[in-house]
Symmetry: C2
Subunit: 260 residues, 2 copies
């Protein structure tokens, strides 16, 4: 580890979110910190980027003695702007995203702006960790998370990351003494059972609002959902290659049998 | 194959895009078609969903004799609304998304609304194909693509899909006689070299606009980028499990050595 590693901090709940504050407070004990985060909540933005509109980037004085910028775009936009307009050629040693207010375990990684920001950094070759606490409340107890945030960041800074550049870390809503430790997992094959609440606006037009419940039929004890339900902090080494290699053979008939 | 399979059609370029029209025209020769697509262009939306705002859904008469709806949300919102507010309990046999104006090969799958819509359907257990033509022009020649769209849709309807529910299909911008056929591939490990164009708005404030070039250092001849550069239609069996299984062992030390 360098004496003062450079740590980029971002999130999807917006630069003023309490989860971001906790992450900054931990990161600054380990290295030089630069924050580039959305100027408004961006939950559910997934890997969205802004290509058909402009972006703003504004230096702000939110965190004492920390270089920080708010950005008008998505979490992924923040990482791209951080790289090109804030950090330029400075080598980033670690990107941390979060701490998200609510779970990003299982398939939530796909919808999560927190995880997409971390993944975007990993696409640039930067070691990245996305953190989430299983508590949607704005008043969630992020202070209790700090020792775990620090241990993971230190581990990655000291050991590096083999075979992947991205960790999806979820912390259960438990008292510290109830936590059993870290557990390295795979992403659970869970899903959302959703519905739309229908209503009528003041002009008489129908509108819809998404709601739903997360459900897990994946009974493996090696999944992140299992870990969280059993008192562990889940750590899923993650990537961006969506190829299903085991399916390639089953489509090979297309190459030979179907005439183009 | 059922006599009249039910085919859901969506995209990210908006319901009025020429690529959508081509896809509908092919799909209706194979089965009953329902279209639910964004009311405006949604490129780069990735897997974004609308959770902090309302959604609108409006029946439109764009395609002759085809049930069609435009939605105010993202491509993923369209698929969720299609399932819950349009199709209800009707079993969808195939979801096709596109034809996208421009490539979604390699890591573009992450940013692509076209592919995220198809992936969302696959998360619901629906066999899905995302189609893209490597021509960003609104006047691109989608008619030449139609035979290939049809062959792939027929193949999936007849053979089903083993080990995956999602295909990422990209078609090179070539004359039909120059095309060499389908090639089953993995996602290339390519990347974008990006920059932000800086300018000043009429009120004197700086703004940024993303631009960049796609570049591929992955020299494998089994990638989608290789296939496209060599005259093939690339077909990548894809999924949504981001776990890097090969990395799990390297983080196991966290479980034992780091005290929580």
């Amino acid at each position: 580890m360098k004496t003062r590693p450079l740590i980029l901090v971002t999130n999807d709940d917006g630069i003023a979110a309490p989860g971001m504050k906790a992450l900054v407070e931990v990161a600054k004990t380990l290295g030089e910190v630069v924050v580039v985060a959305p100027d408004s909540p961006q939950s559910g933005q997934g890997h969205a980027i802004t290509i058909n509109a402009i972006l703003r980037l504004k230096k702000v004085d939110i965190f004492k003695d920390i270089e920080a910028y708010e950005c008008s775009g998505t979490p992924v936009d923040c990482v791209k702007l951080a790289k090109h307009k804030v950090l330029h050629d400075r080598q980033v040693d670690l990107c941390v995203s979060g701490v998200n207010h609510g779970s990003n375990a299982s398939i939530n990684i796909l919808y999560s702006g927190t995880m997409s920001a971390a993944m975007e950094a990993s696409l640039e070759g930067i070691k990245s960790i996305g953190f989430s606490l299983l508590d949607y409340s704005w008043d969630a107890d992020f202070d209790s998370c700090k020792p775990f945030l620090k241990e993971l960041m230190v581990f990655v800074l000291e050991h590096g990351m083999e075979h992947c550049k991205l960790l999806n870390v979820n912390i259960p809503k438990l008292k510290t003494e109830e936590l059993k430790g870290f557990r390295i997992c795979r992403q659970a094959e869970a899903r959302w059972i959703e519905r739309y609440v229908e209503s009528i606006d003041p002009r008489g037009q129908k509108y819809y609002w998404l709601t739903g419940e997360f459900t897990n039929d994946d009974k493996g004890d090696d999944t992140d959902v299992w870990a969280l339900e059993n008192g562990y902090i889940s750590v899923v080494p993650s990537g961006h290659d969506l190829t299903r290699y085991e399916a390639i053979e089953s489509f090979k008939a297309l190459e030979s049998e179907v005439a183009v």
